[in-house]
């Protein structure tokens, strides 16, 4: 660039006390008010963290190396930064903020790092897991709106591990998706499929996040669960999961995802169901009635909660595309 074009406010001789305001000043020319606010809060928190802890150069370098190794291990089928976000509770927190749920709707939970975009679209009744060692489980669900009316044509992503606790993408020799599918609810809001009973499993702990858990004396296990993701225009995107009751890790999930309203008791397939759905009588049965919230209702709730939170902060704020920014007018 042409040095004569340097028109930012001059800064020099920055100290522990004045560097934060100077970085804010230099970043303040960002034209997008939301990005500017995010950077301002980010820089403030990062600097406050260093000041409060008196972060040493050695600790700073260890953090640089940790983050580098987290990035290095990421691949098309492994997202270690999401895993890091999960184990510090950030993922659940962001989902709770962005997808507030009114009472009686289905709660959301962590996406996790194993959702993919290559699952086959399959009709109701499909078999989504082909693991011969898995215990068969018939899954019968409905999708309704807040008024109790069935919602048809909802796109539903479903994914679970095999009987050994591994997702398909964790196998180096994976040839095609397994243990995952994309379905659609029918005219009655129903979707159903044949899966296997979920099992508890450790999140990948052979990388830097595993090292972090070890340092913190935490186990890497998640309780048995099956992931669901719901999408339909006009409805708030719902990322959730169903958990099995009395799993040994029910109250110590490594990624903080378990909610009481998402815990299910497995039942047994009765004779009528066995005939209707083409499965064995007495086999495992999972049922759940999901309740979606409209985009509009979610937006109203999200904005209401944001305004309350901003008031608590004591800063003069306004909403910009539904998200808080400083009100400088």
């Amino acid at each position: 660039m042409d040095p004569s074009q340097v028109d930012i406010a001059p800064h020099k001789d920055l100290t522990i006390e004045n560097i934060t305001e100077n970085v804010h000043m230099i970043n303040s020319r960002c034209p997008d008010p939301r990005q500017k606010y995010l950077m301002e809060r980010l820089v403030t928190h990062v600097h406050d963290f260093a000041r409060e802890t008196r972060l040493s150069t050695g600790e700073w370098m260890a953090a640089i190396q940790f983050l580098t190794s987290v990035g290095k291990i990421c691949s098309d089928v492994r997202q270690e930064f999401i895993l890091l976000s999960d184990v510090i509770g950030l993922s659940l927190l962001v989902d709770s903020i962005d997808h507030p749920k009114p009472p009686a709707s289905t709660e959301g939970t962590v996406l996790g790092p194993f959702h993919t975009h290559d699952a086959a679209h399959e009709p109701n009744g499909s078999t989504i897991s082909h693991d011969p060692d898995g215990e068969p489980c018939l899954v019968l669900c409905t999708v309704k709106d807040m008024a109790g009316a069935p919602v048809a044509h909802v796109k539903i992503d479903i994914w679970e591990t095999d009987s050994k606790g591994f997702y398909d993408v964790q196998y180096a020799d994976r040839e095609r998706p397994d243990g995952r599918t994309v379905m659609e609810s029918d005219a009655h809001g129903v979707f159903w499929f044949k899966a296997i009973v979920p099992v508890p499993y450790p999140i990948p702990h052979d990388g830097p996040v595993g090292q972090l858990l070890k340092m913190l004396r935490r186990h890497p296990y998640r309780p048995s669960h099956m992931h669901f993701m719901f999408a339909k225009e006009g409805y708030d995107h719902l990322i959730t999961a169903l958990y099995l009751r009395d799993d040994p890790y029910e109250t110590s999930d490594a990624v903080f995802g378990v909610k009481e309203s998402l815990i299910v008791d497995l039942g047994a397939v009765n004779a009528e169901q066995a005939q209707k759905y083409g499965v064995k009588e007495g086999g495992k049965l999972m049922t759940y009635d999901f309740v979606l919230v409209s985009d509009e209702e979610t937006r109203r709730l999200r904005e209401k909660e944001a305004i309350v939170a901003m008031k608590k902060l004591g800063r003069k704020m306004k909403l910009y595309h539904g998200l808080p920014v400083p009100d400088v007018d």
Copy 2:
């Protein structure tokens, strides 16, 4: 692990309001009090950031992807996370906290991402840059202690760019180190070498950090400077640099490194110097007297500043290996 061994405090149904204390609880079994404190402050700041900004899922995912791309571009000769730390002022802040300087000692500044460990050890008088387009510059320096006594046998790393503003490691076809050396001060605390006049240059801005600067409408330039790093047992490690006065980027350094006490005026080599040092009369001359601080004095100053900062925080703290941790006794 054996699920019967799960002995951490149970948690479930975590919300925007209670997740932070629950993550702290789960992390509280970390046996190292310093690591535990760092994690507690880190989780608090990350969660507060998300709550204060009402971070959206889309913004969270953009951050995940940004951090992943920062990690991906790191290599043996490129450290994008250090660059990121530099452009948000964190690097300078950490150096200021960890290496406090009493008045009259030489101030520190950012290490930057281009120091390497493969520079040749060379004697006084060596030529450290072989760029034929660089303007020759004789550099005459001394190293003294706080009492003004010369310090001999100090290991000094020196590195600078070539005349085009690139470090040797930025060339894909680099065969050997250039523009960098490791020297030692002699019995009089003197070290001297033949270099080239530093030029301003942009930090690497073809990666994610460059994208961030672009979003913030910031230029990527650093003012002309030469890096120095001093190491000798008993003395605080000094990472610093000398800057040329009146550089167009003197007050807008992309990484916030310039300090008035580190700005030098280039002189001209006189006849006597030309003969003594074997360079052309009238050529450029850079001189500086560096002042090192003892380990002990630095430690005292660092701990004193830490205690003052902890008092401001209003938490009951103590020092553990010289760094703050909560005082829970």
